[in-house]
């Protein structure tokens, strides 16, 4: 009897040991979505800490001027280029180093980073007034090109056949690198340009790639073509229903008590007994990326890199950052070739006029508009 018991414990121990080895594939059952099921966020390589901690360096004034000298030797003396404070960098880029491709409507070109600098009206030749917004392309340079094989963002943009496209990192507005971290400055090492204040990503066809350090100007676009403009809306904070959704509110008097700017009834009752999803309620307003699509370029100024774009509801405040790119609307895509992959302004500097207008736009230096009387 005791032998049997001994044997039994031995067998049990062996079974226990085997179960710990997990030779047989055990399937772990998971119920519902837990935190572990979330996709891992992988930020792009250029999302590094930008600003340096502001501690005192105790550098002597002589050394400070020396640092500035080294800086200007490397990147050029500070200068206002096309209305933007920048550096007189000597371009190292040769546009003929890249293989040239003829433009095809299927190609995706890069976009540019701009600032919304205000709005004012223009008039058409038929006397019609149009509202336009002025966008300035602020000191743009190409920083990096990521070919399609290496480009795999963790959050996939909604683009068909993403594996066909590469990514171009574009920077705008040069800044003094002494205020930036070493990591951030390192992003610009290979491009040969000054560290930039803003970085943006554009998904492009490999044929439209550009060498790092290439400047991008407003002539990247053509007058008369259409663009999409993406900006971050004005941050209004937590707002009530009248401001956020344009509710009418309730009367000021006639027995109304304490419900002048409230939403009122939000549905429910009876069988529903709940608030329906999507009900307009108070909440955070603004500070979201929004895109205005299919805006026509009416006019350009090559001296200050400014374009006049139709509409006055472009997302963001005045002097806010915007992304400008060729429109995705099929019917408004350019019929003729835009500058491909971009316009190299240094090649045709002399022939470039200061102001470029659409055919429909009345120029302010033209004479007054007269309408021809009808012939009877």
């Amino acid at each position: 009897m005791s032998f049997l018991i001994k044997n039994g414990t031995q067998v049990r121990n062996i079974i226990f040991d085997f179960s710990r080895l997990r030779i047989s594939p055990q399937i772990q059952q998971t119920r519902g979505r837990t935190n572990l099921n979330r996709p891992k966020l992988k930020n792009p390589s250029w999302f590094v800490k930008k600003e340096r901690a502001g501690f005192q360096d105790y550098i002597t004034p002589e050394n400070q001027t020396f640092i500035q000298e080294v800086l200007h030797e490397q990147f050029g003396a500070p200068a206002i280029i096309k209305g933007v404070q920048s550096f007189q960098s000597h371009s190292l880029i040769k546009s003929d180093e890249l293989e040239k491709h003829a433009w095809d409507p299927a190609f995706r070109r890069t976009g540019v980073l701009g600032r919304k600098i205000g709005q004012y009206p223009l008039w058409l030749k038929d006397g019609k007034r149009i509202d336009t917004t002025l966008l300035q392309v602020v000191d743009n340079h190409v920083i990096k090109y990521i070919p399609p094989e290496e480009f795999s963002p963790s959050i996939k943009p909604r683009i068909n056949k993403l594996n066909k496209y590469g990514c171009l990192v574009v920077g705008s507005e040069s800044v003094d690198p002494t205020s930036l971290t070493k990591d951030y400055c390192g992003l610009f090492r290979d491009s040969g340009v000054m560290p930039k204040k803003n970085l943006g990503r554009f998904i492009i066809s490999p044929e439209a790639q550009l060498l790092p350090g290439t400047p991008l100007n407003v002539t990247h676009f053509k007058v008369g073509n259409y663009v999409d403009v993406r900006g971050k809306t004005v941050d209004y904070g937590f707002q009530g229903v009248c401001k956020r959704h344009g509710f009418k509110g309730m009367p000021a008097s006639h027995g109304v008590t304490r419900t002048h700017r409230r939403p009122g009834n939000i549905g429910g009752g009876g069988e529903k007994a709940r608030v329906w999803p999507g009900t307009k309620l108070p909440g955070h307003m603004g500070n979201r990326w929004r895109m205005n699509k299919g805006l026509k370029i009416w006019r350009m100024n090559t001296q200050y890199n400014v374009m006049w774009v139709s509409g006055h509801a472009i997302a963001g405040p005045t002097n806010g950052l915007v992304y400008i790119f060729d429109t995705i609307l099929r019917l408004r895509r350019p019929g003729l070739s835009p500058p491909f992959p971009t316009s190299f302004e240094e090649e045709n500097k002399e022939s470039l006029p200061v102001d470029l207008y659409d055919d429909e736009v009345h120029r302010f230096e033209d004479s007054t508009i007269f309408f021809e009387p009808e012939k009877v």
Binding site: G118, R129, H362, F364, D366, T368
Partner: protein, 291 residues
């Protein structure tokens, strides 16, 4: 320095204005007394801020952008070179506007009326003309830089007692009736702009606005329509301290230093237009004297 930034038309009487101007010019001279280049800025007349108010941008700091303002000014001057525009007109002046109109017979229309308001800055500058035609009050809002405007004439250059004359809508029609074939009376050169102190007669209520709350000087019979309650409420809402609020003034206006900078930039062109206009005027006057 703070005084120099005050440019309120209402509270700045002539002496205060002079003081403001002299303080800025003296300070400028003190800074740049050696370089003759900077002295040229003092050529700009201090009255430019009233003559050409639309050249000053909106003072709200978050709406400002120097490049946009520069481009805007360039466009304004380009348009001014192509149109006969008076060098100055004010709220209360009587204007005649000839404009291209696709719907008018002959494709041009001419409207005469009193300017009841000027608003907007830059290319968005506009003004409202009011007249009574066939017993019907008519108001037209014109964009100053609209290229369909052919001609802008000042028939009577004068100011009124108030900055805005919207109350003429509620006054008897004779106060906003002007002859469409009115002839221009030209002021002698160098004379001051006269202030017309006619007081309009208000019609009984209902009114479009609560005129009793607006501290208007151009209405003669406001008191006869007011109930004690209206008087009391108007008194409650008075803000007499606002004219001493320096910060409010500062936010409402462009600093005087910046104004002189802006006007010195456009001075040469504007002065050229003024000279050309004077020449044209002389040419026009000569044949009339002969006849």
């Amino acid at each position: 320095m703070i005084i120099s930034r005050l440019i309120n038309k209402r509270i700045c009487n002539a002496t205060a204005l002079q003081r403001a101007v002299s303080s800025t010019s003296s300070s400028q001279n003190a800074i740049t007394s050696e370089s003759p280049k900077h002295r040229r800025t003092s050529l700009v007349s201090p009255s430019y801020r009233f003559m050409y108010p639309e050249f000053l941008p909106d003072p709200k700091p978050e709406w400002r952008n120097l490049i946009r303002e520069k481009l805007e000014r360039k466009d304004m001057l380009a348009r001014r070179s192509k149109i006969e525009m008076p060098s100055e007109f004010y709220v209360g002046s009587v204007l005649a506007v000839t404009s291209s109109d696709p719907h008018a017979a002959g494709k041009t229309s001419r409207f005469v009326g009193i300017c009841i308001d000027r608003q907007g800055c830059g290319l968005r500058a506009k003004f409202i003309l009011r007249n009574v035609i066939d017993h019907q009050g008519v108001e037209v809002l014109y964009d100053m830089y609209d290229p369909t405007l052919q001609k802008l004439e000042v028939l009577r250059l004068e100011k009124r007692l108030d900055d805005k004359l919207y109350y003429l809508r509620d006054c008897l029609p004779e106060f906003s009736t002007f002859d469409l074939n009115m002839e221009a009376d030209i002021l002698p050169e160098g004379s001051e702009v006269p202030i017309n102190d006619t007081k309009a007669v208000l019609k009984p209520r209902p009114w479009l606005e609560r005129w009793e709350r607006q501290d208007l000087k151009g209405i003669s019979n406001l008191e006869e329509f007011l109930t004690p309650k209206m008087v009391r409420q108007a008194k409650q809402r008075e803000t007499p301290w606002e004219q001493y609020d320096l910060m409010k003034e500062y936010r409402r206006t462009i600093p005087a230093e910046e104004q002189s900078q802006i006007y010195s930039e456009v001075y040469s062109e504007l002065h050229q237009f003024e000279l050309a206009r004077k020449k044209m005027k002389r040419k026009r006057n000569i044949p009339s004297k002969l006849a």
